[in-house]
């Protein structure tokens, strides 16, 4: 009898290929389990592409990468209709978005109409080319990256479009020990991603199980309070660059939407499922809260002038809400 495959197998397979970056790996797994998409922000060279490729390989799924540039067109992503002279008819050529794992590299380098074409496909999970609609494969995960260091020639993503990402993960540099392991592993040749430790059917089954994870009433109220504090931070205080105490409310233009509430619940369920539980805990909610909230809160210019990081404000907001 074959033992049932578990998400942990997938995590282990990804860890075989990628050194460190536990946050990215967990983000990918959560997005897969919760049927959502991930926005990754971090400097180049931090194994974002490799993580995507490894995930697709470990699932025996299809991987596509789209490099966003200012001259990209929506048809370069979703596909187009071309005239076949031999057949004397139009034929549809599907774009690179038709894959299980799609890496939208430097999404903010393309103009708004291209971004919205991608984000609409992410939301609707289908694209329309000419008169015909085409369903995207299932599972379908988009991992979009943004580079925080180089903002010249970029088009900021509109708030409504940012909101469509289930989570935003900040990708950091590896530790010294991890970097030594990277040297050992990749010095001679590229490590090939682990092949097929789970199937796409497994992912669909996991997703159903993750969806059934129980969230107790008190935990639902905690989730709602966490989102509410982003809209009315009250007396939440953060310490600025020069030690000044600042009211979090003065740094925020607008708080998270109800979509954040749903995202928090989905992600908490996913995290509980990854931990082998069929009920979620306050720890699950607190752990995923920064990922679900950081791209949904509108910070104003004072954040930069006071030298406060967005994550520090979010951390203070989360700390201000007592867990049940």
């Amino acid at each position: 009898m074959i033992a049932p495959r578990r998400p942990e197998d997938l995590r282990a397979a990804l860890a075989e290929t990628i050194v460190g970056q536990a946050g990215v790996i967990e983000g990918l797994l959560l997005a897969l389990l919760c049927n959502g998409h991930v926005l990754l922000e971090g400097p180049p060279g931090l194994a974002k592409t490799l993580a995507c490729r490894a995930l697709a390989a470990a699932l025996d799924g299809e991987f596509k990468r789209i490099q966003f540039t200012p001259d990209l067109l929506p048809s370069d992503i979703v596909g187009t209709r071309i005239f076949d002279q031999r057949e004397s008819a139009f034929a549809t050529v599907l774009g690179p978005i038709f894959a299980n794992v799609v890496l939208a590299d430097e999404i903010n380098r393309a103009p708004a109409k291209v971004q919205s074409a991608l984000l609409e496909a992410m939301q609707e999970r289908q694209v329309t080319i000419g008169p015909q609609s085409y369903a995207l494969p299932d599972p379908f995960v988009v991992m979009a990256t943004m580079n925080p260091l180089d903002s010249e020639g970029t088009y900021a993503l509109p708030v409504a479009q940012m909101d469509r990402f289930l989570m935003k993960v900040n990708v950091g540099y590896p530790t010294r020990e991890e970097e030594l392991r990277i040297l050992d592993r990749f010095a001679v040749a590229d490590t090939q991603p682990e092949r097929a430790v789970a199937t796409l059917d497994d992912v669909r089954a996991w997703r159903r199980q993750a969806h059934d994870v129980h969230i107790e009433e008190a935990l639902k109220r905690y989730i709602v309070e966490l989102v509410a504090v982003t809209r009315a931070a009250g007396d939440v205080v953060v310490v600025g660059e020069h030690g000044a105490q600042l009211r979090a409310q003065s740094l925020v233009d607008y708080g998270a939407s109800p979509r954040a509430t749903l995202a928090l619940a989905h992600l908490a369920r996913g995290r509980a499922f990854l931990a082998g539980r069929d009920f979620a805990l306050p720890d699950d909610v607190r752990a995923v809260a920064p990922h679900a909230l950081r791209h949904r809160i509108g910070f104003n210019y004072r954040l930069a002038t006071e030298g406060v990081s967005a994550d520090a404000v979010i951390k203070a907001m989360i700390a201000a809400v007592p867990a049940p």
Binding site: L219, D235, V237, P282, P322, P324
Partner: protein
């Protein structure tokens, strides 16, 4: 500001004073079971005193605990410090209660207290840390009044003072007469001061766990499980609003059965209804194991 600075200096001096003998004397050999820092109010009010409590439980029976270093409470005014050490066959419980007051609203980050000792488990000198605390100091109601409201309030107060002044002048003669008459009357003895009620003894961890076990056996509901979870968390110095990860981090050196108990109670509090009875069974069993280990 000056009071805060003074408090910082006093506490720093106290810390240095306490730290000096550390180098001179040998470290105590202790098996630390729990070491925690808590506050009796997660949202203290400005200018209202509250308590920070350092609790330490060790397996050995010792007369006193040395080498505990408190955090520097620069943003708080120090009002008092009380230490209690209770030893018994089951070990020693140390409790230090620091009375402080905040004069500014906002979030206070209090660093962990530390303990230096030779670990009774492996004989190596180590430093233990409590949890850190994040307290949210809230402004008093009067301080939250806005400028307009303050103006109206001060105008109303002025009018009230004026009325009182006029009333006072009008009644001055009558009061004088009353006072004169009182002096001539026999002075009745003042009532004897009521002796302060004896402090209720603090229940020990074991008795709290026994109560919790009795409650959970009698009332197998989620509500009871949640109450028992709060009671057990209090025994390890956890404050309201923390999560299991915080409490487990605090009890890292604690016996495995305590950690099992915390995990089982978390399941009882948050699992789905069909699993609740099984979760309560597991919690009862974990409580029994913990009590058996303690006695």
């Amino acid at each position: 500001m000056a009071r805060n600075a003074a408090a910082a200096l006093i506490l720093a001096a106290a810390v240095l004073h306490g730290a000096a003998p550390v180098r001179a004397q040998a470290l105590q050999r202790l098996t630390v079971e729990s070491f925690a820092l808590s506050a009796d109010a997660s949202g203290p009010l400005v200018d209202v005193p509250f308590h920070l409590v350092v609790t330490l439980r060790v397996r050995e029976t010792v007369g006193q605990i040395a080498n505990i270093n408190l955090p520097i409470l620069a943003q708080l005014e120090l009002l008092g410090d009380e230490r209690q050490t209770a030893g018994g066959p089951a070990g020693t419980q140390y409790r230090e209660t620091i009375t402080v007051v905040a004069h500014q609203p906002g979030t206070l980050a209090i660093a962990p207290a530390t303990l230096q000792a030779v670990d009774g488990r492996d004989g190596k000198p180590k430093q233990w840390y409590t949890n850190a605390l994040n307290l949210h100091v809230r402004a008093n109601g009067t301080q939250e009044l806005r400028a307009g409201e303050r103006t109206i309030a001060s105008a109303a107060m002025l009018a009230l003072y004026a009325m009182l002044w006029l009333f006072g002048i009008g009644c001055a003669g009558a009061i004088g007469v009353l006072l004169f008459r009182r002096r001539r009357q026999t002075v009745s003895p003042e009532p004897a001061p009521v002796p302060p009620a004896p402090e209720e003894p603090q229940p020990s961890s074991a008795s709290e766990l026994e109560d919790a076990l009795a409650l959970l056996r009698a009332e197998r509901t989620r509500d009871a499980a949640v109450r028992v979870r709060s009671a057990v968390w209090r025994t390890v110095g956890a404050a309201d609003g923390e999560t299991l990860a915080d409490v487990l981090a605090r009890t890292q050196g604690a016996p495995a059965d305590l950690r099992d108990l915390l995990t089982a109670l978390e399941r009882s509090a948050f699992t789905y209804d069909a699993d609740l009875q099984g979760a309560i069974d597991a919690s009862v069993a974990a409580l029994e194991r913990r009590l058996g280990d303690m006695t």
